[in-house]
Amino acid sequence: MIIGKAPDMRYSEVTPKKDFLNRRSFLTTGLAAGAALAAGGGLLSMGSFSEAQAALAGEKLAGVRNNKYVTDEKLTPFDDIKQYNNFYEFGTAKDDPAVHAKNFQTRPWTIEVGGEIANPKTYDTDEIMKLAPLEERIYRLRCVEAWSMVVPWIGFPLNAVIRKAEPNSKAKYVAFETYYDPKQMPLGRSAGIQLPYVEGLRLDEAMHPLALLSFGIYGEVLPNQNGAPLRLVVPWKYGFKSIKSIIKISFVEKEPPTTWNISAPREYGFYSNVNPKVNHPRWSQAKERRIGNFFRRDTLMFNGYPEVASMYSGMDMKKNY
């Protein structure tokens, strides 16, 4: 007894298992796009969104490109972004983090948001990712060591987290802390800097729309060596201000300590704005080498983001380096 007809479909038309298993990432793409359009994310089903974000390095993560933050400069190849890192917890050589962060556990992960705010809360990565729609933003990254990259980040403005936290009148600065576990980061002991890594911004800097909380690069979840699962990106400051693998964000009254400033106060200031006119005591900051180029190019004031200048009007940039 034959019921019905054999399906008119060849095996080659069956969705490959890989794509089938990746349908979550497809969901993310669609949802993130939707989220960007809905500009609130309230329309989204929470379940599928968090499921979509239970992703590890290498999995897809998409954001709608924010055309306010693009550049016609050539993007740095993803391989270079993944192979050339300063992440001293995983070794001080540029190619160390790619090797030694391979098995870094980024899940489960919590981010404690506290201090002088109305709504202290400990988020997990999925929750904090829901605070705003993901965007792709192409930023220049200028390292204090005078090299630079162009990176297509995925994330949303840090101010989304700050608005949710509702800082009180005492909150003048935001302090950040990187996860530190000597068991997972044995090379941290010989890094020559005090760990856990800490960084900070003035509240108005942290509120600036350019300051990005990033979860991905090139449409993928952040590689571990680039600061998974979430990091800060402050494109007008030297790269070390863009703290990686954040576990704590606190709102404080006084200027918080910052790792490189503790290590060498004369060399690395709290502000560390990219400034071709203020040299590092040991080397010039007038030029930089773009990764992929042989010759150096001029470094731009605020790394080419003049819109931040008003935050520093009247400030002596030589004194507040």
Partner: protein, 216 residues
């Protein structure tokens, strides 16, 4: 046995080829595009590292030949020293071409303003007279004693090289400290030899003791 190898015709050629290897490996990586995301940095560090390594290897010849009682090792010293200089030339060339593209005023400003470059430049410049006077003819013209005194500049050059390295790293001073320790050991061994020689001389010629005491 060991001595026969050291004196063999092929020993020098073998060492010569071995000294070329680090440079050739860099050239191969350059050709195959395998110098990593920052090729200029890789070339700068690669040539700089080998400059210091060769200086230290050159400085280890005298202690080794005395401790191992292998005077034949001296045959390789000049070549090793010249390789140190060659890698130094490459190191400086990469800096001159890719960091400043022959902008000599910028290089001069760099040398004056940046202590780590001052140290590196000093280490390099101090090697120049040593390379020039490395020939047999020059040794004869200068006379052994004067030549030897001139070539003690290598101690200053090596120190400048290690300081150059120490001053340029951001926080991980492990490698420069390791190099500094090796250099210190090589210099201390020399101080030991020198003290013993002096004692032996004093013991051999007791009359000198008085004149020396009078001099000091």
């Amino acid at each position: 046995m060991f001595r026969t190898i050291l004196y063999s015709r092929w020993a020098k050629a073998t060492v010569f080829l071995a000294c070329l290897i680090p440079g050739l490996l860099l050239v191969r990586r350059l050709i195959t595009g395998d110098l990593g995301p920052n090729p200029v940095e890789t070339l700068t560090h690669g040539t700089g590292d080998w400059t210091i390594y060769f200086i230290l290897i050159t400085l280890s010849i005298t202690p080794l030949r005395k401790i191992l009682k292998q005077p034949a090792l001296i045959r390789f010293r000049k070549m090793l020293g010249l390789f140190a200089f060659c890698y130094g030339v490459l190191h400086f060339s990469v800096y001159m071409v890719f960091d400043h593209f022959f902008d000599f005023s910028a290089i001069v400003a760099d040398v004056i303003e940046r202590p780590y470059i001052t140290a590196g430049f000093l280490g390099f410049v101090l090697m120049i007279p040593l390379a020039i006077t490395s020939t047999k003819g020059m040794i004869r013209r200068l006379g052994g004693k004067r030549w030897q005194r001139l070539h003690r500049l290598i101690y200053a050059s090596a120190t400048a090289g290690v300081v150059h390295y120490y001053w340029l790293v951001k926080s991980d001073i492990t490698v420069p400290l390791r190099l500094a320790a090796i250099l210190a050991a090589l210099l201390l061994i020399r101080a030991g030899f020198w003290m013993r020689e002096r004692q032996n001389n004093v013991a051999a010629r007791p009359t000198d003791k008085r004149s020396e005491a009078a001099a000091t």
